[in-house]
């Protein structure tokens, strides 16, 4: 590897994420200031957001100055595989699960989420894909119904 030849290597995903964090902090400051500009309201929020802005500039500076070897930069990106979509697919299912809890309670969405997550992860045996989520859902819903002093919304159980 030729370590003498270095090229720019900015991680734009990281820049976007740091910007997202800063926007959230600034949004909070703006919302707080719109309620009241009293010292006792902004005593922590203002300097903390200022510090976040300063740290963002440092992160941006570090990211824009990031370098890696030319050989490394020339390497072909790893080929696309469907397995790379597993994580976003399960994150999406988890989001749908939360939506399902709102409208259908805990039992059916729990069964569907586990079955879906198993299928996404490559499980194809019907007994596992359908049997395991059914047994797990019944046990957990029943257990939580017994433990909690308030009701759990469900459709069937």
């Amino acid at each position: 590897m030729n370590e003498d030849r270095l090229v720019r290597s900015t991680n734009w995903g990281h820049v976007a994420f740091a910007t997202f964090l800063l926007v959230l902090c600034l949004g909070y400051l703006w919302e707080s200031a719109s309620k009241s500009t009293d010292t006792e309201n902004l005593l922590l929020v203002l300097p903390a957001t200022g510090l976040a802005a300063l740290l963002y500039l440092i992160l941006l500076f570090q990211e824009l100055r990031a370098r890696r070897s030319a050989d490394e930069a020339m390497e072909a990106p790893a080929p696309f595989t469907w397995s790379k979509l597993k994580t976003p697919a399960i994150m999406f299912l988890f989001g749908l699960y939360m939506l399902g809890l709102t409208y259908a309670g805990f039992d059916i969405p729990t069964f569907l989420f586990i079955a879906g997550a198993l299928a996404v992860q490559g499980e194809r045996r019907p007994l596992i894909v359908f049997g395991y989520p059914a047994v797990f859902t019944v046990i957990v819903v029943w257990g939580m119904q017994k433990l909690l002093p308030f009701p759990i919304p469900t459709l069937l159980l």
Partner: protein, 506 residues
């Protein structure tokens, strides 16, 4: 310093109350199970079983809840070692070296180290509580808001400094956590940061948020793998190797003592507790070690430092609870609730009037620490079964359990929704190498930091010279600045010194 009449009364209470003995083992087991299940925190387990204590007398209720507390202290280290998921926030530092040990196939030793360090830590915490409860209560009473503020900020800085390579990211994660922790109404009565969402009036639901940041974020990273430990041989549990880990703990008496001392002191400071003490102890052990670069690569001292500190914090936080009636964290807050359900108010008057009960609680916890060693050894075999479960089953199951857990905390769907939002955030933080622990501790301490800052501002009338009148705060401030500069000094020294690091146990 020790009231022997009260000690005699305590022994009477212990010898005449069979219920108190009967609830210790179930309490330890519940704590071990709750602590070892990612997302089911110690305080949550205690909260779930709090209604049961209504059917017990006061002493038995406290024994039952402290047994859950003690069991959970070690339970949290099981997934921390095996899965890199701290079962509780107090086991964060256990992951740093515990999980690398698992990856090297040394999970048996790591669990043995964690168990024995936990037992010694718990025992040390309560022995010191026994000896020092009265002077400690006076010392904690002298900590003003400024001292509390600087201690909390110091804890946060240390977490950022632990990630020496990315100090700016660590600080950013911590600042972001602190800001998230202050959403809702502050102590001065200002309501902000709700963005029109009613659920945020009381702030971010902390426990679901922490579960999201730690649990789901970690689970997302496990997707696509078959088992937690790829090599089947490495997944085997060995009683002999666990015992070897137990024995190995005794090779680090200095680390054990220092961890226990840090845990007791930090645990006694309200609002900071074991979630900070394990990180402080880890950082201090790494800082003073001749081979600091070996930490994070599977150094047994890292596990011992973290576990002895988080377990001894229980004794420290009990000191504040019993002496001042102030809960140091979630666990002691539940204990305070148990006090209230039995019409007992913790604090100086309780300590003065019922010293026999206080000593009985301390002696009861000596016994719990000893029982934990035996029960913990048996439990490791059961709990460690999680490494043998295929991840494709484990991942959605734990996500579902976390969702149920989040619901049980808030009593409505705001818990699961918070879990989802923070799990996505946690995944992004981990993806871009931000320390999730810094955000979590920031979130936990945000409200405390703002409240102490407000009180300090009111006391000082905005005069910076007020700091000069507070020597203890100045000492903590010096430590804070030193911690902030330490990573840069380390980098600078590293550049001027050439020599490869020697990983331990590699």
């Amino acid at each position: 310093m020790i009231d022997f009449l009260a000690v005699s009364g305590a022994l009477d209470i212990l010898s005449s109350n069979w219920t108190a003995w009967a609830v210790i083992i179930p309490g330890l087991l519940l704590g071990l199970i709750g602590g070892s299940m990612p997302g089911i925190s110690i305080s949550m387990t205690m909260a779930i079983f709090l209604p049961l204590t209504l059917y017990m007398d006061f002493f038995s209720a406290v024994m039952f809840l402290t047994a859950i507390f003690t069991g959970g202290g070690f339970g949290g280290s099981v997934p921390a070692v095996l899965m890199n998921i701290p079962g509780t926030p107090s086991a964060v530092a256990t992951t740093f070296d515990g999980y690398p040990m698992t990856q090297q196939g040394r999970h048996n030793e790591a669990l043995g180290l964690a168990l024995f360090a936990s037992c010694i830590g718990t025992l040390a915490g309560y022995v010191l509580l026994f000896l020092l409860i009265e002077p400690l209560s006076i010392a904690v009473l002298r900590l003003g808001p400024l001292e509390m503020l600087v201690v909390a900020l110091w804890g946060l800085i240390l977490i950022a400094a632990l990630r020496g390579r990315h100090v700016a990211r660590g600080l950013m994660a911590g600042v972001f956590g602190v800001l998230m922790g202050t959403l809702g109404m502050n102590d001065a009565g200002y309501l902000r940061g709700t963005f029109g969402i009613d659920v945020l009036l009381d702030g971010v639901p902390t426990i679901p948020a922490i579960m999201g940041l730690f649990v789901a974020a970690q689970l997302f990273n496990l997707i696509g793998r078959d088992y937690i430990v790829a090599d089947e041989g490495s997944r085997r549990m060995s009683f002999r190797l666990i015992l070897a880990g137990v024995r190995e703990t005794m090779r680090y008496p200095g680390v054990l003592l220092r961890g226990s001392a840090i845990g007791i002191i930090v645990g006694a400071v309200p609002g900071v507790g074991s979630s900070v003490s394990n990180l402080l102890s880890y950082a201090e052990t790494r800082r003073t070690d001749p081979n600091p670069a070996s930490f994070g690569t599977g150094n047994p001292k890292g596990v011992v430092a973290a576990e002895s500190a988080n377990s001894s914090s229980e004794g420290g936080s009990m000191a504040t609870l019993l002496a001042l009636g102030i809960p140091g964290g979630g666990g002691t807050a539940i204990l305070l609730a148990a006090f209230a359900t039995h019409n007992i108010v913790g604090g100086p008057k309780f300590l003065a009037d019922h010293k026999d009960i206080v000593y009985a609680i301390i002696f009861g916890n000596f016994i719990q620490a000893l029982l934990l060693l035996g029960i913990g050894l048996a439990f490791i075999h059961v709990a460690s079964g999680i490494v043998k479960v295929p991840l494709r089953l484990l991942v959605p199951s734990v996500m579902v359990l976390s969702s149920f857990g989040a619901y049980s905390i808030t009593g409505n769907l705001s818990g699961p929704v918070t879990l989802l939002v923070f799990s996505l955030l946690g995944w992004l933080l981990a993806r871009y190498d931000y320390p999730v622990a810094a955000t979590v501790v920031g979130l936990l301490l945000g409200r405390l930091v703002e409240s102490e800052l407000l009180h300090s501002y009111q006391l000082s009338a905005g005069e910076v010279s007020f700091l000069l009148q507070r020597p203890v705060a100045m000492v903590f401030l010096f430590l804070l600045v030193a911690s902030l500069l330490a990573p840069f000094l380390r980098q600078w020294r590293g550049r001027s010194r050439i020599g490869p690091a020697t990983p331990v146990g590699g």
